[in-house]
Structure formats: structure tokens, C-alpha cells
Symmetry: C2
DNA sequence: CCGTCATATGTACAATTGTACATATTCGAG
DNA sequence: CTCGAATATGTACAATTGTACATATGACGG
């Protein structure tokens, strides 16, 4: 019984605190950017003492890496799920449209976080591995439905349209998104 | 003569210093990111005293805004030039391919700076105006050759392929880039 | 040649940062 | 119940930051 107890209730007082800090860190990054993200801001937003940051993370770089790892992993999971259930090329096309127009990749917050991630990845090898893994996973998922050149194009189109959705004053209509995917896929 | 003297040699001791500081600032941003860009780093890189920064720029936000304004203006100029000289749809297509594969939009440094710009624009209205103007100019330039939906798609494709060129381990082959542009344009 | 003012510099300072660390609290084994 | 160890906290500090400002320097009209 003590073994079962140990499994269900770990020894930490607040076992989910680290995970919660990572989520809050992503919110802080989305609001203030990597440049404006500090231990104190995250601690205040999560309502934990400052010392809790240095206890759970080896340094602020460790916090950023953990946060972006979660962002990329979640996005890649959603990407794979959306494409896995698609049966046939037509369904796969519609799944791609759904990814662009949906909340996972298309939301302002997530696209914004992606900029920050890319910017950081260019100069931090640990973070770079996160983006590499993300790109590899999404590309592999696409290649289950499309040939390599089409995959590359779709991948780029998803990236570009997501950005425009997040930044443009008037977001691209869904019909245009669907048309774009169709043009790239049908002629392969 | 004194008037001519005045025109050719303004009263500043180093009249081009401000412009040079802006260029150096872009280098520093490309290397250390917005988060790591400080007055002292830029001053050291440009080999000017620290006080020179506060003299030429009202604050560090002013410096960043000036730097990104130059980045966007230069890019938009190149974009317009490349498309203006294109005569006919075929030439316009090739011009788009050239933009993606060329140095202006496709270089690692410039794409990286663009991430930083977007990230900052999302949260700073002054910088946001810079990206809005940039997007408007490139879209208008494209619309001189392509219909609106095609313009939207090409714009997104340029964005996405540029990113992949800068981040991917193996850059997209030029042939694939050309094929992608062709697929989007010919079916319009 | 000289005075005056824009241009340029060096220094100082308050504020904010990441992080170390001594202390407190809680848990679970025996 | 007791005790040791893991978990958590509050505080303190050195380093770095943006910026203000008193001073210096140079150009140019007179």
C-alpha cells in the first residue's frame, strides 16, 4: 500500500508546480517577449515566491528551453493527430486547411511564441534541437500523405499563412487557404 | 562658397554616425537578439563612446525602431525593384524565385532579423507600423503582376520558404522553389 | 581671430537583473 | 512518534542595465 501511495502521491509538496511554471512562462513570453521575461515576472504571474524559480530550474535559459520544448511538443502532437486521422488525399488536404485555420498553429499567441522560439533557436543549440525535432516531425507527418516536393511546399505554405493570419490586419479567408492547398496538391 | 561648404559638410563632426550606428545595431541584433542588444554592446561594436548612444537616440526603443525601419525599408525597396523590372507573368514568376533564393530575403541574417522584428511588432505599435508598411508594399508590388488570391498565396509562400531556407539543415533546392511558384501561379 | 552654439564625450547613479544560500517546512520510512 | 532528507522559501548581493548630466570639443558666422 505504501508503494501505491508513493506512486500516486509523489514526495513533492506541489508536484505539478514545475509544469505550471512552464505554462505560465509561455504566457509571460507571449506577453513580454523573451527580452522581457524575467524570473520575477513569471513568479508573480504564477503566484509563487522568487526562490521557487531557482529551485525548479537551473537558470533562466533552462526555463526558456523547457517552455519552448513544451510549445513545440504540443504543436507537433496536434499536427500528427490531425494528419493521422485523415484517410486519403482529400481528407489530408482538408486536415492541412484545418491546421492553418485552427487554434493550434493559427492562433496569434502560438504564432507569436513561434517567432520567439525561432529567434532564440538561431543562437542557442539546445533550443535549436527543439525546432529541428518539430520540423522533422511535421514534415514526416506530411510525407505520409504527399510526395517530398509537395511536402516541402505545403510545409512552407503552412508557415507563411500562419504568420499572415497572426499579423495581417485582415486574416486570409478560409476559402483562399483551401484554394492554396488545393493548387499545391492537385498538380503533383 | 560657404553655402556650398555647408551643404557638403554639415555641422556635425561625424554626420554619418547615426546611420552607421543603425547598421551596427542590426548586426548586434542579428548576433545577440533583441534581448541581448544593449547600448554598450552597440557602442562597443561601432567603436563609439557610450554617451553617443543617448545623444543620437532618444532611448533604446528609438534605436530598435530606427534599425528595424531601415531593415524593412531596404527589403521593400529590393522587393519592388525586383518586380518592377519584370515584364510579363513569366518574368514575374522568375523574379519571385530570385527573391526567395537571393540574399535580400533569403539570407540567414535577414530572416533572423525578421523574426525579431515580428516578435517586437506584436507588442510595440511603432514597430508594428513598420511591418504593416512592409507587408503592404510587397503585396502591392505582387498585385501588379498577379490577381489578389494568387498574391496572398505567393506572399505566404515567400515567407515560409524564406524561413525554411534560413533554419532548415538542407535548404530547399532552387528547382523546388521554382516548381512551387509555378504551381501557385499557373493555375490562377 | 573669436565667441557661440550644436555636437560629442565621460562619469555617475538608481533600478533591475540572475542567482546563491541559509533557513523553514513537509513528507515518509522505521 | 521521530528523524532525515527532499522540497520550498525569503533575503541578500554582485553585476548589468538605461539614462541623466556636467563637461569638452569643434565648426563657422562675424
Amino acid at each position: 500500500m505504501s508503494a501505491a501511495r508513493k506512486a500516486s502521491r509523489p514526495r513533492r509538496h506541489d508536484p505539478e508546480r514545475r509544469d505550471r511554471l512552464i505554462d505560465v512562462a509561455l504566457d509571460v513570453i507571449a506577453e513580454h517577449g523573451v527580452a522581457g521575461t524575467t524570473h520575477r515576472k513569471v513568479a508573480a504571474a504564477a503566484d509563487v515566491p522568487l526562490g521557487s524559480m531557482t529551485y525548479h530550474f537551473a537558470g533562466i535559459e533552462d526555463l526558456l528551453t523547457a517552455a519552448f520544448t513544451k510549445l513545440a511538443t504540443t504543436a507537433a502532437d496536434g499536427f500528427e493527430d490531425a494528419l493521422r486521422t485523415a484517410d486519403g488525399t482529400e481528407a489530408a488536404r482538408e486536415a492541412v486547411v484545418g491546421l492553418i485555420t485552427g487554434e493550434l498553429l493559427g492562433s496569434r499567441r502560438n504564432v507569436l511564441l513561434t517567432y520567439e522560439l525561432y529567434a532564440l533557436a538561431a543562437r542557442n543549440p539546445d533550443v535549436r534541437r527543439v525546432t529541428d525535432a518539430w520540423m522533422a516531425r511535421s514534415r514526416t507527418a506530411l510525407e505520409h500523405h504527399f510526395d517530398p516536393p509537395t511536402t516541402i511546399m505545403l510545409d512552407a505554405l503552412i508557415e507563411g499563412l500562419s504568420i499572415h493570419r497572426a499579423l495581417a490586419l485582415d486574416p486570409t479567408p478560409n476559402a483562399v487557404v483551401r484554394d492554396a492547398v488545393r493548387r499545391i496538391v492537385t498538380s503533383s
